[in-house]
């Protein structure tokens, strides 16, 4: 069994014979993931537990304490919250990554951006875990997939670009201002509540229409949910706007990283 897995892995590597860089990013993120869960006894089970417990709490609180006017509310929350969890995790790991990978950055020359790509990929592994929980939920609820699901990766890619950009910017700022960590927790808390994760999107955005455009996550959450839950055609204007937003942030992130990174190891 193990040999078979290794054989498969070897085949996988041979697809990219010359891409040492891809191998490196994959190894970095794989070990990241291992370190995160290997220290605990239940291991990978925690990766499933955390989002499940979280959604259960929200579901109970919001559907019993507040009046609910959204059908399939559990699925509604979950489809929003997995996007949110990805953003939260990858942006927070951007704050840590230089400190965590210092032992490599300090001693060996390689493309420094690789550690960021790896941390984005690590969060993507947890995202895939969450998606599998979502599929499980879909089967229980009896939701049948539609061909519109092919649009879903478009929004996930948008999310990845956005998270990478935000992570780069945060990591640059954290070199100079350690307080950014606490500040970012505050911002995340705020963002969590202004995003259409629990609420019907009309409720917030009819009150504050500008929030839809000021907040880069809102469009991604709305579109991906429309596709996944309602089988609707996505709002293409909102999607284009989301991509534009994310690319601008990524470019700022790459620029700031290039300009200020050398200070990072000196100061960490």
């Amino acid at each position: 069994m193990k040999q078979m897995a290794q054989g498969l892995a070897a085949k996988f590597y041979n697809i990219f014979p010359e891409s040492i860089r891809l191998e490196r990013i994959w190894l970095l993120s794989k070990t990241d993931f291992k370190i995160r869960y290997s220290a605990s006894t239940l291991g990978l089970l925690w990766a499933f537990m955390y989002p499940l417990v979280r959604i259960l709490i929200y579901y109970i609180v919001f559907s019993f304490v507040f009046a609910k006017d959204i059908p399939n509310y559990g699925f509604y929350i979950f489809s929003g919250i997995i996007i949110w969890l990805y953003f939260q995790e990858s942006s927070k790991s951007g704050l840590r990554v230089i400190r965590m990978k210092r032992y490599l950055l300090e001693n060996i020359n390689f493309n420094r951006l690789d550690v960021f790509y790896a941390s984005i990929l690590t969060s993507l592994i947890s995202f895939i875990v969450n998606i599998s929980v979502l599929i499980f939920l879909m089967i229980i609820m009896g939701i049948t997939p539609t061909w519109k699901y092919i649009y879903y990766p478009i929004f996930i890619f948008n999310l990845i670009i956005l998270s990478l950009g935000v992570g780069l910017i945060l990591s640059t700022i954290s070199v100079y201002y350690k307080d950014i960590k606490q500040f970012w927790d505050l911002i995340l808390l705020l963002m969590f509540w202004i995003n259409p994760i629990f609420f019907a999107k009309q409720k917030i955005f009819n009150m504050f229409p500008s929030l839809l455009y000021a907040n880069p996550l809102a469009g991604i959450i709305i579109n991906s949910r429309d596709v996944l839950m309602y089988g609707k055609e996505p709002d293409w204007f909102l999607a284009a706007y989301g991509y534009f937003y994310a690319i601008v942030i990524l470019l700022i992130g790459l620029w700031s990283f290039k300009k200020f990174f050398h200070k990072a190891i000196e100061k960490v």
Partner: protein, 263 residues
């Protein structure tokens, strides 16, 4: 343009650190110190160094503690950027080896070897081939699946050196790396690597207090004193100079002490 056989070049390289010190006093005094910048202090760790290292050379750096040796290594690798006006160039892949660094303590030997090797640009298929050799060189056959955190200093040193040797780094920068590893058998192996270094074109930068190793291998030695380069030359020459600077420093301190006591 650099000449072809030069792999490290430092031109007018200086490094100044700005450190912040904790201010005692009430909250107004503290915030005033932060705003006015009076809690900052500049420390010149390395001053105006010019140096060229050839391919295949074994260069040693000596100097007392705090003379800027480690800073100089960081400047060579580009981890630190030199102050304005200075320029540091390094050509080829390198690895910096220092005590207890370079590994993640939470990972096993196997995982660390693969991770470090891959980061250094070695293909996984090649690592698969060389894995046994790496472990045998480090003499860690019994600890392949053990987490590094249980390792002694000597075991870590052996593993790091083995990975560096087998990953074909062009330049190895050793920052007091072998300090505390007195294992005779392993010493023989590392000696062999040092001897072969010139043949295989490996450049070695070596910071050490071990005059014995320096005398044996160093092609050139650099003496640092309080961040300044006091001399570059052959091992015997510079070691004599180093010993005399220490002596001068000691007698100066003694005189100062006597002077202070008399006052």
């Amino acid at each position: 343009m650099m000449k072809e056989d030069i792999v490290i070049k430092l031109e007018n390289v200086s490094k100044t650190f700005t450190i912040r010190e904790k201010v005692s006093g009430n909250i107004f005094q503290k915030s005033w110190a932060v705003l006015s910048g009076s809690n900052r202090r500049k420390i010149e760790a390395v001053k105006n160094i010019n140096l060229e290292v050839k391919k295949g050379e074994f260069l040693s750096i000596v100097g007392a503690n705090g003379s800027g040796k480690s800073t100089l290594i960081h400047l060579m690798t580009g981890v630190y950027r030199p102050d304005k006006g200075g320029k540091s160039t390094i050509i080829g892949s390198f690895i910096r080896l220092s005590l207890g660094l370079g590994f993640n303590a939470q990972l096993t030997t196997r995982e660390n070897v693969y991770l470090n090797g891959s980061v250094m640009g070695v293909k996984i298929s090649e690592l698969n081939k060389n894995f046994k050799k790496i472990i045998e060189f480090a003499e860690l056959q019994k600890f392949v699946n053990t987490k590094i955190k249980y390792f002694s200093r000597g075991m870590r040193t052996r593993l790091a050196f083995s990975v560096a040797v087998h990953a074909h780094a062009d330049i190895m920068l050793m920052d007091e790396f072998f300090g505390g590893v007195g294992d005779e058998r392993f010493k023989e192996k590392s000696d062999k690597v040092f001897n072969d270094a010139f043949v295989s074109g490996k450049t070695i930068i070596h910071v050490s207090h071990s005059m014995e190793t320096i005398k044996k291998y160093a092609d050139r030695v650099v003496l640092l004193h309080e961040g300044e380069c006091r001399g570059i030359g052959s091992a015997d020459e510079i070691i004599d100079l180093y010993r005399s600077t220490i002596k001068v420093e000691k007698s100066r301190r003694r005189e100062k002490k006597q002077y202070d006591q008399q006052q």
